[in-house]
């Protein structure tokens, strides 16, 4: 019996220790970080005195960014698990319409309407996932079908029931409802009043709200976004389930061989994506007090763009929730920043396309340059 050689782990002369700098650079979030810095630098230069960076301005683009973040977290985890969900935008419209019809037309309490809508939408997400894993069809096709199916119902149902495509009056029904507050309310009112009294932030000079601070609290929408990002990040990087998500998207067959329940992981991620879309929709309905048949249009692509800017690979198995959150932040800052800078707002999409291309090229190029990967 040959004695197996047992060298003490010696350093291989072909392996160089990477510097901390290089390690930092090959993180998936690189494109997102560079993009965020670039975007903030740009607007600090061109829109610094436009009010973009006073308290109202910050809240303004924070809200928009938070909206993107909520759907980006769902899209990010799903994409790392190797699938897409193109039905997110239609799901937003559908969920909002479901809440409005249940409360306004049928007169249900808001909390019940929200609860039932969550159940319904998560079930549709599960159906999406079930069809994908059972048929083996690309999720691109399956969820594209649901994009049309859900949008169709969102337009058809309110016309059938109320003979209109926008249903309002949710605000009155939602007043005083604790679950509705969970999505449309604000927190830390006291802090902002105190800040206003202390002269740190501006207060209204005249009118009914005279003496009140111009910002009277942090919308729970932002709390949802931050909570979902933290939840997603911890789930992905610190838990057993996170490892399974990476493995399912990286090589589903390999994952199956070692006993990872790949199908369950994928279906759960479709459900999570639907959950995020419903959170978005509920916050939106509570904010506007109405639901419209065209809500959520193109949101699926905006979510995917945020995720890709954040460094995730479209092929799955690689990505970061923090990156996706940065992608969403870039989105929100650019969209609102162009408004503050007085640029024609239709140019938003042009900027967005350019940033997407830039971030992705940067992600790929620098990764290759530094590591020789891929």
């Amino acid at each position: 019996m040959a004695e197996a050689a047992r060298p003490t782990p010696v350093s291989d002369e072909r392996v160089k220790q990477m510097s901390g700098m290089r390690r930092a650079l090959i993180r998936p979030e690189l494109g997102g970080i560079v993009g965020t810095i670039a975007v903030f630098a740009f607007f600090l230069i061109f829109a610094a005195d436009s009010g973009m960076f006073n308290i109202q301005g910050v809240l303004n683009w924070s809200i928009v960014s938070a909206q993107f973040m909520i759907i980006a977290v769902g899209a990010c985890l799903l994409m790392i698990a190797g699938e897409f969900d193109l039905s997110v935008g239609s799901m937003i419209g559908f969920a909002g319409m479901s809440i409005a019809i249940l409360t306004v037309t049928l007169g249900w309490p808001v909390w019940l309407a929200i609860l039932l809508t969550f159940v319904l939408c998560i079930a549709i997400g599960a159906l999406n996932g079930y069809i994908v894993v059972r048929t083996g069809l690309p999720s691109f096709i399956v969820t594209l079908a649901f994009l049309f199916i859900l949008r169709g119902f969102t337009i058809f149902l309110p016309q059938l029931i109320e003979r209109k495509t926008i249903i309002g009056g949710v605000s009155d029904a939602a007043a005083g409802d604790p679950v509705a507050w969970l999505f449309g309310g604000k927190i830390l009112n006291g802090l902002f009043v105190w800040l206003g009294d202390a002269g740190v932030i501006a207060v209204f000079e005249r009118g009914n709200n005279k003496g009140q601070p111009v910002v009277d609290g942090i919308p729970l929408l932002i709390v949802w976004a931050v909570a979902l990002v933290i939840f997603g990040h911890i789930l992905l990087t610190r838990t057993r389930f996170g490892n399974w998500i990476f493995a399912s998207g990286g090589d589903a067959q390999a994952a199956r061989y070692v006993g990872v329940p790949v199908n369950r992981v994928k279906i759960l991620m479709f459900m999570f994506s639907a959950f995020c879309a419903t959170v978005f929709a509920t916050c939106q309905v509570m904010e506007f007090g109405s639901a419209g048949a065209d809500r959520g249009l193109l949101k699926e692509f905006e979510a995917i763009i945020a995720v890709v800017i954040g460094g995730a690979l479209l092929t799955g198995g690689y990505g970061s929730v923090i990156g996706a959150a940065l992608g969403a932040l870039i989105f929100g800052v650019v969209q609102q920043g162009l408004f503050f800078a007085g640029v024609e707002s239709s140019l938003f999409r042009v900027f967005l396309g350019v940033i997407l291309l830039g971030a992705v090229v940067l992600n790929t190029y620098i990764r290759r340059l530094i590591t020789g990967e891929r």
């Binding site: 019996m1 040959a2 197996a4 050689a5 047992r6 060298p7 782990p9 010696v10 350093s11 291989d12 072909r14 392996v15 789930l235 610190r238 838990t239 057993r240 389930f241 996170g242 490892n243 399974w244 990476f246 493995a247 990286g250 090589d251 067959q253 390999a254 994952a255 199956r256 061989y257 070692v258 006993g259 990872v260 198995g317 690689y318 590591t371 990967e373 891929r374």
Partner: protein, 254 residues
Amino acid sequence: MSDIILETRGLTKRYGGVHALEDANFTLRRGEHIAVVGDNGAGKSTFVRQITAVEQRTAGEVFFDGQAVNFAGPLEARESGIETVFQNLALADDLDVPSNLYLGREIIKFNLGPFSILDRKAMRVATQKALDTTAVRIPNLSNPIRNMSGGQRQCVAIARAAAFASKLIIMDEPTAALGVQETGQVENIIRGLKARGVPLILISHNLRQVFDLVDRIVVFRRGRIVASLRREETDGNDIVSYITGVKGGEGARA
């Protein structure tokens, strides 16, 4: 306690009209190392996939450790002590070495179901130990598997199986993609398993290796087991004639 660790009776797998595996009767004793040889498409990998429950068999029975077993999936097979090195390695490219070693049975700090927090440090330490005992050298454990050479990946897969093997280890062409040095390393791991008394099923096309390493050679041909020979009572030419069908008709028993 029986001397036999694994037995299959009439094991059969059909993919639609294709009879990939027909009536395989096979026994493996404790501590025994067996090689499974045969041409491409002879049913070797199919045979392994039925035992490890990656696929569900069409017919037949499997007895493992004295009991009739019906694993629902590969995880159950692993939990009862069967470790497998698959032909396509079953590694997740974007995870690092410890995560791959422990994929599906992660070490956790507290049990919160799917939200169990990983104990990365413990996994890292245990991984280093496992690699040390198998003399496999991986320079940087926290590198994703994607960046590693074929040999290194293979060594990770084999180290995983060797580290966890308790009752039976199955290797499907473990050295097919390896250079001379890595092949030697893998063969050393196999000898180490023999010394530890862990039974092994080795699928290989390399007859030199087979004769070097195992006690008994089982030949598959066209989905059937056509021969089962002790190493001392056969030679390379003999095995080749079974593989090509010169010798051995239907119905040979393992």
